[in-house]
């Protein structure tokens, strides 16, 4: 089950989170923004929600380059975690990129979860256009 009003924001850079959160807060349908500085912690939280039968976030805004677990490692783990979920019950990954590096695009093309790219910084208009809020 997905919760339309819930989003996760995963970026190791607190300043980027601070700015992106500010943009996301402008969208009325978003009720809850959970911020994570480490992908691993977000994964643990998702695992917990899944176990308890709680609803998952509709959107996961995800930075690519992070220490320890990076964005792609996170997606891989999440796909494994959600392999039994119906297509309609999968959160959408919004990959936050600062540069469209070929290496990143190739890796993202291999991902199974629904997803988009958005350029950093998040722009309110672009967000509203691309995503169903």
């Amino acid at each position: 089950m997905l919760s339309k009003g819930k989003v996760f924001l995963i970026d190791d850079d607190p300043i980027a989170n601070f700015c992106n959160k500010d943009v996301l807060q402008e969208i009325e349908s978003i009720e809850q923004i959970e911020e994570f500085l480490e992908a691993k912690k977000a994964l643990i939280e998702l695992e917990k929600l899944l176990k308890e039968g709680m609803s998952l976030p509709h959107y996961i805004f995800l930075d690519i380059r992070m220490p320890e677990m990076d964005g792609f490692e996170f997606i891989e783990e999440l796909e494994y975690l959600l392999e039994d979920n119906e297509p309609g019950e999968l959160p959408t990954i919004i990959l936050l990129t600062s540069s469209r590096h070929k290496r990143d695009l190739e890796l993202f093309a291999k991902c199974q979860l629904p997803g988009y790219y958005l350029n950093k910084p998040l722009e309110l208009e672009e967000l509203k256009q691309k995503l169903a809020f």
């Binding site: 980027a16 380059r65 290496r103």
Partner: protein, 289 residues
Amino acid sequence: MDQELHPFLKRQIRRFLHEEDIDGTELEKFILAVDSSYKHFSRERELMETSSNRMMEEMKHKNESLKRLISSLDDFNYHVSHDLKSGVINNLSLSKMLKKYLENGEEKMVEEITEKLQENSERNLNTIRQFLRIAKEDINISNTEDVQLINFKEQVNEVLLEFDPADFEIDIAVVGLESFVYSLVQFKSVLRNLISNSIRYRKESSRAKIAVCFYHQELNKRIVYRDNGIGIDLKKRKDKIFKAFEADQRYSNSSGVGLYLTKKIIESNGGTITLESKLGEGVCFKIML
């Protein structure tokens, strides 16, 4: 004299000459001349083979170092585009926010954003400094003009002068020959990186204890470098330890460039560096020069 000649050559010559045409000594002289030419040519051929093998080896070596250079340039490009861009993007976002909250008259937010703007700009400056440092060190690595005979102990002590003696104690040992040939700038850069890491990652409120040993026997030149610092969790960070810009997040003042450059210098000289470590138990670098 006859027995020293190459039997194959002798047979060939006798096949083509009618022995009755020339008397025995003339023939022997002739055979000797041909034989010594043959020996001379085969020596030449061996020399050519050795030098062409050597050239092949050199080319292989150059190819490998080019491949390494390309992959490191690719990494560098990836990080430059990511790190520099995200820093500038943060500044842009913060400025936009600042404008919004100034218009709304929300003073508290304005204050917070201004602080973040400053913090972010300082971080950007630091990022640029690291990139410049790599660019500068790259020039050092390609510079082989200062290759010279280096006395290990002397030059280690020279590098130590750059650090505060209150921060560390060191034990330097040499087994075998005490000097070796290397680029001085590069050798000092390697030492400087290792020592500054030992000091940066020492255990709280204690001096860094460093033990460095140089083994030099015949062609085998090794440095074993240990400290008693906080160590590294290799399970977690193994792939990242020698990569650029993957600084240990536990410490904000680490640059993420030192070990990358260290490895690069050592490998560009045909050597290797490996690391053994456990969290809380210091590090041990083994370097083949």
